[in-house]
Amino acid sequence: MYDDKAYTSQLITEIKKEKLNLSLMEVCGTHTMAIARSGVKKLFPHNLRLLSGPGCPVCVTSQGDIDAVIELATKPGVILATFGDMIRVPGSNSSLQEAKSRGADIRVVYSPLDALRLAKHYPEKEVVFLGIGFETTAPAIAITIEEACRQHLQNFSVWSLHKVVSPALEVIFSDSEITVDGLICPGHVAAVTGIDPFIKLADKYKKPCVVTGFETPDILEGIYMLLLQLRNSDARAEIQYQSVVKPQGNIEAMQVMQKVFKTVPSRWRGLGVIEDSGLAIKDEYCGWDARTKFNIPEYEVQPVKGCACGDVLKGKIVPHQCALFAKVCTPLTPVGPCMVSQEGACAAYYRYNSAETRAN
């Protein structure tokens, strides 16, 4: 943890000197919140833009996927265990919170192992854990599935909505309507994957990528490293978050993830279907795959009129440019996941921005 105010001031001075018109994308939802909470954007010159990207696993879950999960939760004999931030995400007509208030057995857990404990505690029920998250979370769920297998636990399964980040970043970089000059890369994803996926991105699209931590000095240093590369017309992948991220990543975590999961096409809200971007449970673990146990149809996606979550996730617009922002779509009455997720770009914008820039 930093405690060096002088160094932070120096970084701010250097960043303020930037003269180029630049757009940097911060991919990760935790970065979105940390940046908004620290007030760091207010120090930047007008020519330096920070865009929010698709790194919030809750925000990129498609409406159809949420509808399917709500149906799963209302099946008799099912206990749906989920992380807290999925509970308020709106589907086409309802949310898990609403389903819970109508009697669906939905439990908020802090760890997938809590879901295993639930399964042991309620042997007559089928406990389904809603697996959501990127490479940061997927290894823990993989271990949980292995543990369920080891214990021969028959009444536990996972409904996987896990995704991997890099394919979505390829879509962003390939989109001619989006200008992204550099990437603030997700520190915790990289702690698992290592720097390789970001080296590939930097080489293919000739954009600098810096794996960054989450304290304010980390974020400032990561941005400064990007600016230095851009000033020198460099396009490399670097690690700012060296205290946590090793170049090779967490090999055991990657191994267990690859042992239990395979990549499949996956629908991302606002980005459409992206090949090899979802994680599905491999056939040898089908006994713990809720998709094998439950036959739930693929839901038609009916996007809400006016909801611009997709454009926000691509960094095409900032939240207050969405017609629904703060008028119809608020944290209490969210239309899209970007508002309801703790790490959503719209939630961060709503919470931390001054009244003048909010459309209310």
Partner: protein, 338 residues
């Protein structure tokens, strides 16, 4: 009382078993002249002044936690609400709804805890009610307390409308302790540095502040929704803006570390033993010095000031000295925290 004895439906039926429960457990622990005759109500003699009444119900789970229990919190909560109104807390009523099967030993522990807490706070429990419901009707035990206090003659009322630009905003200690303690208990999170609830009566704070009558404008205890929510309520009710300095808000290292790990914000976590106070700027330092002599307010600090604009909004000055909005809590943070 036999070991392992439990509450049964008959304890709430008004008959012999109810009578036995009241006499052996409640009256023995809380004995005082108003309670002793066990009338249908309590006859009170109040000193001259304006009478303040406040009520609160407590449904917290777990019922025993580091730093307190549902009994202690039911006394402190209402004492603090009376204190926040500028009143000297004097009498409490206690209503209990108990689940069939609740261990009598636990009830005795809670009742004894309420006795100690009431004595420390200088209040008497003067009347009460007990109901028993079938298993599943409530979660173990729910408690309501209603309190009566008096604002002495010559003392001003504490109201949001009295808050003025230039007033200093004072907080009597660290935030986030209670809510995080409850979360840790519920989820079985073992932090290396344990977190403990700050559940406490703040009647001494009230006594000190009455010496600065007129110069203390308003105060409130930041329970559910945390400091940010209470500041937003008062900002809206007073029509003033508040600027809070993030680095001045006391947060214990244990709470800071836990929040970092869990992605939570101490500004939105419940407290049960803190007060936010609005005071004239020329007296704020002296008030802080005097409050710090009180154990429960030993980390009192000035955390911000009142401004004219933006009206009804709370701004936070970050560590980087930029400003951002500090909103109210939206939706549910943690359920049944008090």
């Amino acid at each position: 009382m036999k070991k392992d004895e439990r509450i049964v439906m008959a304890h709430g039926s008004g008959g012999r078993m109810s009578q036995k429960l009241i006499e052996e457990i409640f009256r023995n622990a809380w004995n005082n002249p108003q309670l002793a005759p066990l009338l249908d109500g309590a006859i009170l003699n109040l000193p001259p002044g304006r009478v303040v009444v406040s009520t609160d119900s407590f449904v917290i789970t777990p019922i025993f936690f580091p730093g307190g229990d549902i009994g202690k919190i039911s006394i402190c909560g209402t004492v603090n609400d009376l204190t926040a109104c500028g009143a000297k807390p004097m009498y409490l009523t206690v209503g209990m709804i108990i689940e069939e099967g609740f261990p009598l030993a636990d009830l005795k522990k809670l009742v004894d805890s309420m006795a100690r807490t009431a004595e420390d706070a200088g209040v008497k429990i003067v009347t009460g009610d007990t109901k028993v419901v079938e298993k599943g009707g409530v979660d173990k035990i729910f408690i309501n307390t209603t309190g009566v206090g008096v604002i002495p003659n010559g003392c001003s009322e504490l109201l949001p409308s009295r808050i003025q630009s230039g007033d200093q905003i004072i907080l009597t200690g660290t935030v986030g302790d209670h809510g995080l303690t409850i979360l840790a208990q519920r989820e079985g999170l073992n932090f290396f540095t344990p977190v403990v609830s700050d559940c406490a009566s703040l009647h001494h704070v009230g006594e000190v502040l009455r010496k600065f009558d007129g110069e203390v404008r308003c105060m409130r205890d930041p329970t559910r929704g945390g400091l940010a929510t209470v500041l937003n309520e008062l900002s809206s009710q007073s029509g003033k803006g508040f600027i809070i300095k993030e680095k001045s808000v006391p947060v214990s290292p244990a709470v800071r570390g836990a929040c970092d790990m869990l992605g939570m914000d101490p500004f939105y976590i419940a407290n049960e033993g803190k007060m936010v106070i609005f005071a004239a700027s020329n007296r704020a330092s002296q008030i802080v010095t005097e409050l710090r002599q009180i154990y429960e307010a030993r980390e009192t600090a000035i955390i911000g000031e009142v401004v004219d604009e933006p009206q009804g909004k709370v701004l936070l000055e970050t560590e980087l000295e930029t400003q951002r909005i500090l909103n109210m809590l939206e939706g549910e943070h943690l359920p049944r925290i008090c």
